[in-house]
Symmetry: D2
Subunit: 429 residues, 4 copies
């Protein structure tokens, strides 16, 4: 267990920008990690229920990816290849085609953007605008799509928006599924889009997450997504599904929308795409919308070759048959059961999310923060989510063994109990 | 030597987006690389005068970085750490402080952004706007700063700008040093900024590259940079130097502005920062301008730990004493001599650039393309630059051995000679 | 009655822009007018139920205003005075203070903008942004505020918006009162504004018409206006009521919001302000928000002195006691009765609007256009309104004598009957 | 002569917005005016060298226009006609065609916009954007085009720009003719427009005044205007000449560009267009660019019928033969001579402007203000201009009789002498 007072790592305080964040609440200096566990410089161990914000869906240092990567480096495999053809890229594309795209009947082309989710979103928005000749993109309350200027316009969070220091253009905001009590947000969208004086300019795209990971694990219903997809089509707009956090198995299937009977025109992927936590992003785009000319959207690191190596192994290992997906279904149920116990400790608490992307809305950011803080002290890395940070969010590696899962849940239950007990004590004083 | 007709790598054509670019003119499938040499899947060898567009300043797979990285991976070192403290990050920061910042008297803080140059530029622009409460940023003709919406506003290239599919805001364009004959562009900037009816809104920042790598190797004079820096200060604007392509030794010193007697408020770094070609970017910012709150600008991959490992080795190996910098001075002279020979073959050709970032303006994009195409056929990877692609640009690894350098130049001379001969032939027909 | 085929007025076709509009459906060449009646060059007479789109609330060429204006011109009174003090302006301001502002307890300052409604809206939006340091202004579905770029951003109509030829910035659109079935639009506004991830930037102002004149005579309930006013206050935004079409007695009181128990921070006025149809506009602004410096918002014609003369007479004649307002109440009832008869002829028709600003939603723009076209043929000038032009809108002069009113209604009933009969005939064929 | 201390007109202070401006330096309450002379409420007389900022080019209350207007009103002529055909509009259009457009070989269509210069500029910019499908409009240093959001983007003045409270979009700023010493601004424009990486997006229009009235009477050379016109054509952009202040005879011909051998695609007119100081504006547009649909750009007061009446008389009276234009040439010479005498009193002073739109740059706004302030005390209404208010600007009615002209100049000379004398005294103390 970590001690209470980790000695301040002075080089970070001295030289790292005040923009640093997670390290403030979790000040340990981490050294190594394996599977669902992390170690720090003082020998402490932590169970990881954050998984790099869903970038480590297969856990830390998966042995097969690790072996392949070491092998690649040892043999002087290309590390940086711009967008030149490389063996590693070819192998990744073949795996993606064979095990992911073809079986799902997806004819999408693959565009490797700069290796961040925000860059994929930027590219997706640009494509939609170029295809349609329109600039307006419809995004939703509590959506999170990144903090570069194009993506930030679509992000709802006012703290991040304020960081821009200027106005953001090209996005219209509408309520997400279930956002406002009694409001059928798809119907409202339909009415406003269809109204010649509705004041919503004809959209280039509708951009959504099926589960809003940062926004509080708000899960859209399949029906809502289908209605929105139909509206996009009707109005000549592209449907962009941002699957950066919800994709790569997180909701129980490779893509988060697989079971919804929609075909997005564009899908953005990043985070767990490389499988190993290495920077990698891509845009999947229907062939008819693949309109960028050579390097029209470019970037130095759009071919992170190390990531191609591990990403290929990840696909081959986890998605070449249905076993992994079946495991995810079981783990989702396990997670739900565990979270219900947590919720039972907090009056008014509600379960949020879907699949391996669930959490508990405990009603206040203060309480959620208190719970996560206590959990960290007990050796569990876990974070909050939501517009008021009111949701305790579990983003454990999908590969977490049942025993580790249970250990993590036990800590979470203890932390919640303690936080609630203190509340009672404080209230009584 | 590569053969004329590489068999089409069908997976790329079938599945990769039309946005792919370099691979069109250089269709080989590359497999491995070492130092300044690349190998393809057919066993062909190439000398690399492109170096990942200056992302491989220390060559491919530097043995010391390679060893350190393999060691890190083998021992389950953290691969993905969000912005948590890690041993690898701490060690990088210490190396940066000891060997780069402190010796140059720089008190800048380090902000790790999403690991692309564009992301660093986006963060820098946002910081300047937040600090000043102004939105206008002055950028220059032929500047290149990335293609995400914020950075793209500052990029001059119309092809990239067009890819946005919508208007870009927040940037005023002015002529770069030496842009227009007879125009003292610093004086013009001074007059327009100082004129209450000049129509240039008070700037948040002035953003420049000291050598415009994509824009045609236009090198600003130290005096011009100093005048612009003084104007920024006078008008309450921040000076941002985008050192993404020109930094990390490329012009002969670690930063491209070291010998200019200016202290930028913000410096953006990426490309060769990791030393190994791995995605990594950072913003250096004076402490008084380090205004972002925790995660106000964030990103999943802002702590690419593998890159920290190699970046530390790169600094320790090449910048802990003055030896490498002295070598760069010698190689710059060598490069200049060689390019003069190339220029001598093309009537009207002009040398461009500075340090190890030089090239020859051959007057037309067609000719420059012809030369690079022929060079590739003879086993030399080299690219054009400039607003009309009219500059043959040498971005060889800074570590290229003299013999390899010469071999590359011989090919370049041959390619130029052949291209000129064909021109004569065609003209005579 | 006008003949069927007015000879084409060739100079208009030859030289006037294709942007001309009303003259297409009503091609007569008008020569003179008095009260609620117009004459054309062929001697035809028309009853005016359009009143310059509510710019002639006191009818054409009111004899008292006319006498005062002729007197002013005859004695070489100032015609154009920039924003210098003039006797005429002083007298207008005194009348406004004595008979309008003071009795209503309004401490607002008067800013004379360029003499168009759009200019007043532009000034109002700029004031709100300057006061708050924010740029976002919330406007509503079906709002109409003008077609200059600032105002156009707030206008909902897509036809007008498209005329801009570029994107419009600084406005967020939300549903108006009663817009979408089952949606409490004030509650939705409250939730989105109060949500830190709602994606609606903190507003400088909320801008609304209490009755949307162009948008289809949608009348907001007093309660809704009060809730929106309270939200504006709570969020540090200014409440701007655009009373350009609904003000100056049109809804039954001088201001349209008088009976709603709200105090707008800013009110925009134009159209019938001069009383005589002369261009004149003003912004009423609470003293604490009167933040423009001298001429910071300016304009050559901001002191249309002829308009000051007639505007003063209008106030003194109609608003110095309660008689006129009582008449308006009676006429409103009369109008409602008459429109109910019209509505009874059209299955599914609905009454819209409030006061002397009422109409009938006949369900389709085609039918409404047909009715108005037939009315014109019978000597009644009347127009449609609404997002699909589906509302037959009565904007008769408020001074229309009862007999003329009845004559007009008779024509309208005939026109409606004929249009419906034709529909039946066509359907039967 | 006005007394030093006019009693404060309390109603203005009590109720008029702080945005009021000219009345601060000239606090008299004006009552009547005739020709080039004004009277105030205390019986003082003033010579008018401001002429409503060039809105009263034919002087105050011209007897012929006055008679026609009284006649129109007396006979219940239409006052407000929306954009319906009226006799008055038809007569104006015929006069414009016969005496202005046809003789100059101009096939332009006439669009009546809201009756302010800013509205004409807004319409012009929208047309150019709609025609070209581009949003960028090039405007120049020290240009003034109005303060509504679209026009304000093109206006250079930072005080007015700041009033917007938000960013302005869609305009690129470049140096005007002669702006920067040694800079050929047409050549710079050519280079930047022609450079694929120049960073200037393809323009919808180039917008300029041939003499910058507010910007300090900077007069473009005919050659520069021709080169800019050619560049516009070459780059597919429209040439918009804003002739609002410089047109209607002010520079010696009806249009300011008549002698320059250019045909603007669009001309904006306002100020003196009505002849009588009444609000009126129009856009002249080549038929092929007359792309607005019916009412796509609209406005309640776009048919100010009183203004049509006087505008027709103005054209018939002054422009049906060449006499008036010859007088203007003589008066221009007279003005130049007189201003040279003023300039001779101020070391370093320079003459600015062209035609009846000339002034003296006295080097400082303080001195120019002092001169105009003293002139007002002596009974001369005159104003400053320029980015630092450093130009004493004469905008006398074009019809000013020689004797009045001389009287005005005498006051100006005295005022200048006194101001200079005081300077010497102050410096000596």
């Amino acid at each position: 267990m970590p001690k209470d007072m980790t000695p301040t790592p002075s080089i970070f305080e001295r030289r790292e920008s005040a923009a640093r964040s997670y390290c403030r609440g979790m000040p340990a200096v981490f050294t190594s990690a394996s599977g669902s566990e992390l170690k720090d410089s003082e020998g402490n161990c932590y169970i990881d229920f954050l998984a790099g914000c869903s970038s480590l869906n297969y856990g830390h240092n998966d042995p097969d990816m690790k072996a392949a990567l070491i092998d690649h480096i040892t043999s002087d495999g290309i590390a940086h290849g711009l967008d030149l053809h490389t063996e590693a890229k070819g192998a990744f594309l073949r795996a993606l085609e064979d095990h992911i795209l073809a079986p799902r009947g997806m004819d999408h082309r693959v565009m490797f953007t700069g290796p961040t989710g925000a860059n994929a979103v930027e590219a997706a928005m640009k494509i939609a605008r170029k295809v349609t000749g329109r600039s307006n993109i419809i995004a939703f309350t509590n959506g999170f799509h990144g903090v570069t200027m194009g993506a930030l316009a679509a992000t709802g969070n006012s703290y991040h928006r304020g960081g821009a220091g200027m106005d953001k253009a090209g996005v219209t905001r509408l309520p997400f599924d279930g956002y406002a009590e009694g409001v059928d947000s798809a119907a409202l969208l339909e009415q406003m889009l269809g109204d010649p004086s509705g004041g919503i300019d004809a959209p280039a795209a509708i951009l959504l997450e099926t589960v809003q990971g940062e926004g509080g694990l708000n899960a859209a219903s399949p029906e809502w997504v289908r209605r929105v997809a139909a509206l996009a089509k009707e109005h000549g707009a592209l449907l962009i599904i941002d699957d950066i956090q919800a994709g790569i198995g997180r909701t129980g299937t490779f893509f988060s929308f697989e079971t919804m009977d929609v075909t997005p025109d564009i899908v953005t992927m990043a985070k767990s795409l490389s499988g190993f936590g290495l920077p990698m992003a891509m845009v999947l785009v229907r062939p008819e919308h693949d309109v960028f000319g050579p390097a029209e959207h470019n970037g130095t690191f759009r071919g992170n070759t190390h990531a191609f190596v591990t990403a290929r192994v990840a696909i081959e290992k986890f998605w070449s048959d249905g076993r992994f997906q079946r495991e995810l279904a079981e783990k989702s149920a396990l997670l739900r059961d565990a979270l219900q116990k947590v919720a039972a400790l907090v009056p008014g608490a509600r379960l949020k999310g879907r699949g391996l992307m669930q959490g508990v809305d405990v009603g206040s950011g203060e309480l959620a923060g208190e719970i996560c803080g206590r959990a960290y002290q007990m050796g569990l890395v876990i974070e909050t989510s939501g517009n008021k940070d009111q949701v305790v969010k579990v983003l454990a590696p999908l590969t977490t063994p049942a025993a580790t899962f249970r250990k993590g849940f036990d800590i979470l239950l203890d932390a919640t109990r303690d936080a609630m007990a203190q509340r009672v004590t404080l209230a009584a004083e």
